[in-house]
């Protein structure tokens, strides 16, 4: 095959994921959806990189595999959500993922903390996954069809994550001594920031009115708390405090030191050479 035909074919094979016609969307609603997508994509991106930190050093081989799989799933979801946003805004998804300053990311501050030990990782991930599943459920019937389709696919995968994290929370939380102690101290440490996944997002009322999101974030937070606390109480663990999600739950104007460290890690290849592919 000649180089020319190869090149011509390459152009026809778009690696990008969904394509759709967004021209019918009101500009303000389009921006609101793009902002929602950025918060979700950043969450999955950051949690995926946190998971990948365990590759090779998890407490057992099975967890090396499990956390590497979780990471691969989450980075895959992030990629898809960045691409969905890009289809609305015309941005380059790679630039979104790798070429923003730490202060420009919009992930929940729950994900800022360093991974610390295994017990902490399990608790933080369980808090995030249970919250994420409530958020995904609120988007399953979204009036923005491309998002509803993507969410349907993602939920089928997240089921396995939740199963795994529930099993670990129970395993550690019910084992007296050190394992349970780690879970208790992680819950205590994360309690003030746990609800940040439901921090208000720009133009939230517009998203709810348009049927993009089924309920306001504060309502989803309450739904999540009641479900998560039922589980925590069953394991005789400290429940999540009854507090409104903080307005600055996704604000990184003064980025957390642990996130800046992670950002340095995950942008290191991209920063080596402008436009590099790997």
């Amino acid at each position: 095959m000649t180089t020319e035909t190869r090149r011509a074919t390459r152009q026809l094979i778009q690696p990008d994921l969904p394509r759709f016609d967004a021209s019918g969307l009101e500009p303000a609603l389009r921006t609101a959806i793009a902002d929602l997508l950025l918060t979700m994509a950043d969450d999955e991106f950051v949690v995926g990189f946190r998971d990948s930190e365990w590759t090779g050093i998890a407490p057992m081989l099975e967890e090396d595999v499990a956390f590497s799989s979780l990471a691969q799933d989450e980075i895959g979801h992030a990629r898809l959500l960045y691409e969905l946003r890009s289809a609305l805004t015309g941005e380059d998804p790679d630039r979104l993922a790798f070429h923003r300053q730490p202060s420009e990311y919009r992930h929940a501050r729950l994900l800022d903390h360093a991974r610390q030990g295994w017990g902490f990782t399990i608790v933080r991930r369980w808090l995030y996954d249970t919250a994420d599943s409530i958020r995904l459920a609120a988007l399953a019937g979204s009036s923005f069809a491309p998002l509803a389709q993507v969410v349907a696919k993602i939920r089928r995968e997240e089921r396995y994550h939740l199963m795994h994290l529930n099993a670990w929370l129970e395993r550690l939380g019910t084992r007296p001594g050190k394992p349970r102690g780690k879970v208790l101290s992680a819950l205590k440490q994360l309690n003030p920031i746990a609800t940040s996944v439901f921090a208000p997002i720009p133009n939230e009322p517009m998203l709810v009115d348009a049927g993009v999101l089924s309920a306001p974030m504060a309502q989803l937070a309450a739904r999540w708390r009641s479900e998560a606390n039922a589980r925590l109480c069953a394991l005789n663990l400290r429940p999540i405090a009854d507090a409104q999600p903080a307005v600055d739950g996704r604000d990184h104007a003064n980025p957390d030191e642990s996130f800046v460290w992670l950002w340095n890690e995950f942008t290191s290849v991209a920063r080596l050479e402008e436009g590099a592919e790997w």
Binding site: T9, G76, K153, E157, R159
Partner: protein, 157 residues
Amino acid sequence: MVAPSIAAIPLESAVWAALQDVHDPEIPTISVVDLGVIGGVRTEEGRISVDLLPTFVGCPAINVLQDAIAERLREFADEVSVDVSFTEPWTTERITVDGRAALRAAGFAPPSEDPVAQCPYCGSRNTRMDNAFGPTLCRAIYYCSACRQPFEQFKLV
């Protein structure tokens, strides 16, 4: 009876037949058609478009499959596009009967609603799940206590 000439076979059927030659790089035993990842094929004058439904969103084989499908179909049209689609989610129910047999023959238990996995080697149901996460995103690791053989089962999604 006169055998139909090649020209009489509709292009779309020829494309589906050709797709039987394309295999998932992570599961070489099964074609993309039997795996159920071909969402649809559209043919028009000089142009073929194929919808590809990823098994998992983060599946690293997606781009490889797009390339392989385009490469295989180039003989049928000047323009071939292979687009990833989520209009309907890929589910394990999309794997065909032939695909399930091919999986079993290669030592993979096909996905099943049954909570107990059946060993693809000896058929025993005396098995346990060792890890919900296996060597690829779509497979879990099991152990057969009857023939003492580890095996993999496709996750039900």
